[in-house]
């Protein structure tokens, strides 16, 4: 044993005798994680969050969250001598006077966009593979919470520099708050400490942006990861993989090295974007003045769908007992997002209610094998995409020589018509893919080799697929619709019949699938 090893051993022993860490470490460092690229999407979000914390801390050293009026005397000539808030002036100083400040600001903003995009892609993976099923329902809800808070956090960050664009965004937020019936105007006065814009919102949202929300994020992310740890990671089906085991690599050294390396790659990509591509050029927007607005004022992409919904809302403003009810803002700005996010959060429970499936699931679904869920997901994404596209309707209009009114009407009709179409088409595609899987198992792979039979007939040679592949294509369960009787044993109508009928219909739709080949099917084929 070399001297160095002895010293290391002594130190480890010293720590272990006092903390008992060795046994815990031994167990947990060998913990196995399954390996798949789609399991790294959440990691992108996690690493972007770390980058956000680091770059954000750097920015706080120079940012002055104050609406005190100052005269700009920095080095950006077109703004020299203008009155502006200290917040905007200090954001300009970060961009032009602080060494590396602009790079850090851009890294911070790009990381925020990547963070949100990674969350959405991660959520899509979890949804389409059914990873939210028991026992992971709570983690799903935490994830939805993180997504929602991410939108809020991002919006507050976008609002902090107090440039013309952020002020416009805050103004729209104020309009949405005011659209709340009865208490809207009070809420607005409460949040802004008086009439808009006032002098308090920058310091207030700063505290929320850098302290409260990051704190909640840290707590939620910790619980999110601890649950993944405790419940173990889900895995894709494959030979040797069951509901009871986890097939993959140990945390140390393989996963540690991969994850550690991936962190630096995410940091690298973010830094690359920050170094070569301009984001939120606040100096061009100028200081915020309520009297000014720019054409094409858009929020960051993760709120673009909200802007798109507001842009397509018809002008519904009924006056009730002398009070205006701004349905044109209330519905797209609060009611629809409320329904969407509540529905998302509750989806695991809704699916459980439909299928009546209370078992634990650690093996993931192939999206085609859950056609109803996949179709529902694509339907929701279609809805969001149309809303998002309408959020950029002015740029689409100018760049593609279209009329903004036509795009708006396309969106208004499309957002109602296209999601159901997307549902039907996706479900059909899923069922077709199931049919193709069945074909593959029963008849094997098409080799493309044509053989001429003695009779002159041409046939294509089919090659049987590997047992591993056949296993993968046939491992999924055959769902059966719930058997719900309308009447009980004595022929009496059950209470809550309507609910039960609804459940039955959902259940039948959810269980729709192509029967997977059985051993008997295979045997029969072999006789041909």
């Amino acid at each position: 044993m070399s001297a160095r090893e002895r010293i290391a051993g002594n130190v480890a022993n010293y720590v272990d005798e006092r903390t008992g860490a060795a046994a815990w470490m031994k167990k947990n460092l060998q913990k196995v994680f399954p390996d798949h690229w789609s399991f790294m999407l959440g990691e992108i979000a996690l690493y972007s969050f770390v980058i956000l914390l680091l770059s954000g801390t750097f920015l706080t050293f120079w940012f002055d969250p104050s609406m005190r009026e100052v005269v700009y005397e920095g080095s950006y000539e077109p703004l020299q001598g203008l009155e502006m808030s200290a917040a905007y002036a200090s954001a300009l100083d970060i961009s032009f006077e602080v060494r590396g400040g602009l790079l850090m600001r851009q890294i911070h903003h790009w990381a925020a966009l990547i963070f949100m995009a990674a969350i959405v892609v991660h959520l899509m993976r979890v949804f389409f593979t059914g990873a939210f099923r028991k026992p992971r329902e709570f983690n799903w809800i935490i994830g939805i919470g993180l997504l929602t808070l991410g939108i809020v956090e991002g919006f507050l960050g976008y609002s902090l520099p107090d440039d013309l664009l952020s002020g416009t965004g805050i103004r729209i937020a104020e309009a949405i708050i005011q659209a709340v019936p009865v208490v809207g105007s009070y809420l607005s006065y409460f949040i802004f400490g008086g009439a808009f814009p006032g002098y308090t919102f920058i310091p207030r949202i700063y505290t929320v942006h850098i302290l409260i929300l990051p704190g909640i994020f840290l707590a939620l992310i910790t619980v999110h990861l601890m649950l993944v740890w405790y419940q173990k990671h889900t895995q894709y089906p494959g030979p040797g993989r069951t509901e009871k085991n986890v097939v993959g690599y140990p945390l140390l050294p393989i996963y540690m090295a991969k994850a550690g390396g991936f962190f630096f790659i995410v940091f690298g990509v973010t830094a690359l974007l920050g170094a070569v591509a301009s984001i939120n050029p606040i100096w061009l927007y100028g200081p915020y003045t309520p009297g000014q607005v720019s054409a094409g004022s858009q929020p960051d992409w993760y709120m673009g769908w909200l802007d798109g919904l507001v842009r397509m809302a018809p002008p519904l403003e009924p006056v009730i007992f002398g009070y205006t009810l701004s349905l044109n803002i209330l519905i797209p700005g609060l009611i629809l997002p409320g329904i969407i996010f509540t529905g998302m959060a509750l989806y695991p429970f809704i699916e459980q209610w439909i299928t009546g499936d209370k078992r634990e699931h650690h093996l993931l679904d192939r999206p085609r094998n859950a056609p109803n869920r996949t179709a529902l997901g694509v339907m929701s994404l279609t809805f969001m995409m149309i809303a998002l596209i309408n959020g950029g309707n002015d740029l689409i209009a100018t760049n593609f020589d279209l009329s903004i009114n036509q795009i708006m009407w396309f969106s208004r009709i499309g957002i109602i018509v296209l999601p159901p179409i997307a549902f039907i088409v996706t479900k059909r595609i899923c069922l077709s893919l199931q049919r193709a899987d069945r074909e593959l198992v029963l008849h094997g792979r098409e080799t493309g080799r044509l053989v001429m039979m003695p009779s002159g007939e041409f046939v294509e040679v089919h090659e049987p697929i590997s047992p591993e592949k056949a296993w993968l294509l046939t491992q999924h369960e055959q769902n059966a619709p719930l058997q719900l009787e309308d009447t009980d044993a004595r022929g009496v109508r059950r209470p809550g019949l309507l609910k039960s009928k609804l459940r039955k219909r959902f259940s039948v739709a959810h269980a729709e699938q192509v029967a997977k080949p059985t051993v008997a099917d295979l045997k029969e084929i072999e006789h041909h």
């Binding site: 664009l165 790659i265 100096w283 002015d394």
Partner: protein, 263 residues
Amino acid sequence: MKRLSRYRRHRAAAPLLLIFALLGIGTTFQVAGATTTSPMTAEERTAAIEEGKEIFLRGCSSCHGLNAEGGPIAPSLIGVGAASVDFQVATGRMPMADMSQQAMRKAPVYTDEEVAALAAYVASLAPGPEIPTEEMLNYERDGELAEGGELFRTNCAMCHNFAGQGGALTQGKYAPSVMGVKPVHIYEAMITGPQAMPVFSDKTLTPKEKLSIIKWIKHAEKEPQLGGVALGRVGPVTEGLLVWTLGLGLLIGIAVWLATKAK
């Protein structure tokens, strides 16, 4: 000399001196001014109007009418002034390429002389806004950069976007980009209000304020791309596109590569 100096404290000396000085400055200005601008003589003007009328009859009258009185598809040009003609024709908007929502900027059809003749003809029909002279357009000298930015954001950005990149209006109309437009045409656009644009009279925006706006636009035009590729200076839409394509595309690509089993 002595005789002259005797009167130097005379009561009339100061006013006289002032008159001589003013005469001197006035004459110098007149002579100097004459060298930079060459006002047309009456004959030249008549000739230009004649030429302009000919061009008008050939190229414009089918829509605007034989006497520029307008028609079912084109407005009357009586009283629109030379500035309007210069803006519309010299930026290629007129004659229109097609009857779409809005005349677009393109390569001009007529030469500078032909535009001047057309402008002279239309201006001869009724008084209207004049083409601003070189002297009036010295924005580098008379404009204020920061004030121009402030005025641009207050009066122009709502249609032309915060960086002058243009934006959409209703029914397929649009506010074009103001980048790469000659100062004289920016000025003319403000005083004539072409197409969907409002008129910014000298009461709304003084000539000096107009020059400040032009100065800011010209500065924005040649401003280097601070912070990297500008992505069109149209706000978060292109940023979102980049993050979903290059940013996330790259990261997912790397994730796929990392999870590939070694062969």
